[in-house]
Amino acid sequence: MNFDKKKIDLFAIDIRENIVRTIASKGTGHVGGSLSIADTLAVLYGAVMNVDPENPNKEDRDYIVLSKGHAGPALYAALALKGYFPMETLQTLNKNDTILPSHTDRLKTPGVDLTTGSLGQGTSLAAGAALADKLDGKENYTYLIVGDGELDEGQVWEFALFTAHQNLSNLITFVDANGKQLDGTTEQICRLGSIEKKFESFGFNAITVEDGNDTEQIYNAIMSAKAEKGRPSAIVLHTVKGAGIKRYTKMANCHSVAVGKDELEEILRELDEKRDQIRGCRNAEN
């Protein structure tokens, strides 16, 4: 498949727009970690995953497990844009009786394959899903997204040992390494060292994406991971928390912030300018 960077970059901007619109409708939410993973979701839903919005539970679909479940607004934006549910539904985030809870729930939201929210737990769930596929000789993939702060959880490393031992090459793990967690930088709170070396030493094929908000680099990393048949792959995305929107990238920490009406208008203008740049120039920087 030829990768259409322009199309995917525009999709990523649409996801960003809907992340902030969605969070603005509630007033506050997990902005930073949703924006940092927007480009990966654009690549997955725009160019990689075997899914069908008309039939969210189709048997041979690829699975998505957002273990950093608080980035739900990013996944919801991607799902709504793909047609899993009406765009208006996004405005119900975290409101009474919503199908879009702050953390992803497979029983509430079409397109969400596993329920997450207690950090670390999506990893083992993804491993179980991938193991079932492997045992049944299925060809589909499970895509797991964890945060770098989430790597503090011991369960992630139990998962890593297990997944490498079981050779689950049908499971591709993304680490959204935006360098920040709720209380500060990952460097300040609990040093991670080289995430790549850690996964490599656990038996993974570790792939570095130097600009984890560059769709083409993400796409190439996924293709490289899919070519690896003997080991599971971990794609370490060196991202920026709040990526793609200046006011958030400049903040010391935008983990969970309020989004007011004025800010929203300013953000929408910024995103429109980016769209114009992309449409005008094929190689424009995102």
Binding site: R106, L107, D113, L114, T115, G117, S118, G120, Q121, T123, S124, L125, A126, A127, G128, A129, A130, L131, A132, D133, L135, D136, G154, Q155, E158, F159, L161, F162, H165, Q166
Partner: protein, 317 residues
């Protein structure tokens, strides 16, 4: 009336044989262990059925999560560790990846309470039932009898949902015959009586049956109920027996807080209050010791049940 017999088969043998049968008949049934297959007698199962039985290593949290993920794809995984480690060690994984995720994992906790014997207080689950009772939709079974264990394993494999089953792996006693009918949510009246009701589960059923014999010699006619189904508990049977005898003793191999005694007390208090007393560990930790020694030390013996029966009778009269 049911009679106690000394069985010739350890419950762990019943466990592994039943799993073999279930996995032969349904390729989606799986078994995961966290490096205790040697203790529970499933090493052969893991060696002979590599597509269905996996020793994941010493990682209970990951084991439960993997099992939940497998179940969402249609597998029916049993997971085992000692009762301490398959419950409190991975409680959040069982709650969220399991119950909240509406997964289908059959959790086994071996060596509940005093049956942990020489493994001591670190390995002696006297709180496992209490931990899981507050998890919505979780079903909990306390078993120490081979025919009942076979039923629970088969029945739970056939019904979707999260379950927890605890049993002493090396225990051999029996009091049912092979034709006994069981139903989840329905306790079994082992001995009918008019004066006092003893509601017991697991190992304490044996103490309760002994206690009934002792009470009989004192002209006290005790009813004995095996309430293996702690959740859902059989409220109908509890109330029927309470209105007949008017006095209840519960006996459990668990802390009296949060287990069978609490479940029965909740039913009685809300629907049919009568004098009751709970027998079980009285809010203390476990310790090293033989099963018989611990049952005596924790005041969980048939003699303790007799004293409790006399106390509730005096309160009733």
């Amino acid at each position: 009336m049911q009679k106690i017999k000394t069985g010739d088969v350890e419950l762990r043998k019943v466990f592994s044989e039943t799993l073999f049968e279930l996995m032969d008949s349904d390729p989606d049934i799986m078994y995961l262990d966290a490096d205790l297959s040697g203790a529970i007698g499933t090493s052969k199962l893991i060696a002979e059925k590599p597509e269905q039985a996996i020793d994941v290593g010493i990682m209970e949290a990951n084991m439960v999560g993997v099992a939940a993920g497998l179940s969402v794809k249609g597998k029916i995984p049993f997971v085992h560790s000692f009762g301490t480690f398959s419950t409190r060690r991975c409680a959040d994984q069982v709650f969220l990846s399991g119950c909240y995720n509406r997964a289908n994992v059959k959790i086994i906790g071996s060596d509940p309470g005093v049956s942990a014997q020489s493994n001591g207080g670190t390995h002696m689950p006297l709180e496992d039932v209490a931990v899981f009772r507050a998890f919505p939709e979780m079903k909990i079974f306390d078993v120490a009898e081979p025919n009942l264990l076979r039923f629970i394993l088969k029945e739970t494999s056939e019904e979707y949902g999260m379950t927890y089953t605890r049993f002493p792996r090396k225990f051999k006693g029996t009091y049912y015959d092979e034709r006994q009918d069981f139903k989840i949510g329905k306790g079994v009246v082992l001995r009918e009586g008019r004066d006092v009701t003893i509601i017991a589960s697991g190992l304490e059923v044996f103490e309760a049956l002994h206690a009934a014999e002792m009470l009989s010699a004192m002209y006290i006619d005790a009813e004995v109920i095996d309430m293996f189904t702690i959740k859902p508990v059989d409220a109908e049977l509890i109330c029927a027996s309470a209105s007949k005898t008017g006095a209840i003793v519960t006996a459990e191999n668990h802390n009296i807080i949060g287990g069978l005694g609490s479940a029965v007390a909740e039913v009685l208090a809300e629907h049919c209050p009568v004098p009751m007393k709970r027998i079980g560990a009285r809010d203390h930790f476990g310790e090293v010791g033989d099963q018989k020694f611990l049952i005596d030390k924790f005041a969980m013996s048939s003699g303790d049940i007799v004293l409790a029966a006399q106390e509730v009778l005096s309160r009733r009269n």
